[in-house]
């Protein structure tokens, strides 16, 4: 018993040491969303001023009403965001080839910059809402662009990815989840 007491500091240290070792595998910057499995926030964003009407759903801004019915992906982007450009081909493929409806929230962007960016890189979004003061994005819990949210048929947020979407994330996480949510 007494011996055990003297061994206690060593055992405590062992625990701390293992924790430190495991700590290398975690990413302190990865923050979970508070909105998983909760309904997407209610909002009604106008289109980017000057944006021509296009896309199957007729564009004209983005509101929460559009997020029910089918499984959709909401992507928060901005023209000034460098990783957004990196993920753009992935988003485009997802929307045009992999059959997922992608909506965009244009985060704190100048309208003319956003339009130039879209015409240069292509517009894969079924509709885009312009969130110029960033308030709606705060409702979504956005803390850094790009961010992507997967919404189920009932309009609930089921998955969130922070940072640029990569083909790997799409193949391994998003597409299986879309398939699953469409069945459910």
């Amino acid at each position: 018993m007494r011996r055990l007491l003297y061994l206690l500091p060593f055992l405590l240290f062992l625990g701390v040491g293992v924790a430190f070792y495991l700590g290398f595998e975690r990413d302190p910057r990865d923050i979970p969303s508070a909105l998983i499995d909760k309904p997407a926030p209610t909002f009604d964003l106008p289109a980017i001023p000057g944006q021509p009407v296009q896309g199957q759903l007729g564009a004209g801004g983005l509101s929460s009403a559009k997020l029910t019915g089918d499984v959709t992906l909401v992507n928060v982007f901005a023209s000034w965001c460098i990783p957004c450009k990196a993920e753009h081909p992935v988003i485009t493929r997802l929307s045009r080839e992999q059959g997922v409806t992608v909506y965009g929230i244009n985060y704190k962007d100048k309208p003319e910059d956003a339009l130039t960016w879209l015409s240069r890189n292509g517009n894969p979004y079924a509709a885009i809402g312009a969130d110029q003061d960033g308030r709606v994005s705060i409702d979504w819990g956005v803390y850094g662009v790009p961010e992507s949210y997967l919404i189920d048929r009932k309009g609930r947020i089921r998955f969130k990815h922070v940072g640029p979407l990569t083909p790997q994330v799409v193949e391994e996480q998003i597409l299986p989840m879309v398939k699953h949510l469409r069945q459910g």
């Binding site: 979970p32 508070a34 909105l35 003061d133 960033g134 705060i138 979504w140 819990g141 803390y143 850094g144």
Partner: protein, 156 residues
């Protein structure tokens, strides 16, 4: 090597002078502003490392400061404002984590250490005193013995 350099740059750039609150944010009502500052100091700036939104000059921190002030102007109580923010960003934004199952050890830990330490110290001292009675301490004087007896009787 390049990665290390980049990491170094990123790490250093986070330590920017904290010139956070801008004049246009300050509310005209000093009482409300004081509340806004107090709330801001409890909320974490998500994009920066361990800074409160009151300390950080990140754009998101500014948006959140403005949001806090808007909620206060709309008549929300302090707790309502906090709830508004945690509903969107989770408990992670609270620099003083709420007391619940996963933070039990955090909040109770320090006091448990104190209590266990106190108990250990007590046992240690009592053990020593047992030895002490035989060895190191002087025997009670006649006067002390009388007082001790009186005390013991009183307890009965």
């Amino acid at each position: 090597m390049k990665r290390v350099l980049l990491a170094a740059l990123l790490a250093l750039s986070t330590l920017a002078p904290a010139l956070a609150v801008q004049p246009d944010e300050v509310l005209p009502d000093p009482a409300l502003e004081t509340r806004a500052r107090a709330i801001s100091q409890e909320l974490r700036c998500l994009v920066c490392q361990n800074q409160s939104i009151d300390d950080s000059n990140a754009p998101l921190a500014r948006d959140l400061r403005l949001l806090v002030r808007d909620r206060l102007k709309a008549g929300d109580s302090d707790t309502k404002v906090m709830e508004y923010v945690t509903d969107r960003y989770g408990d992670y934004v609270l620099l003083r984590p709420p007391f619940k199952a996963t933070t039990l050890v955090l909040w109770v830990g320090p006091f448990a250490v104190l209590l266990l330490g106190a108990a250990g110290t007590f046992l240690f001292l009592r053990g020593r005193r047992g030895v002490a009675a035989g060895a190191d301490t002087a025997p009670l004087s006649a006067d002390e013995r009388r007082r001790l007896d009186a005390l013991l009787r009183k307890d009965d």
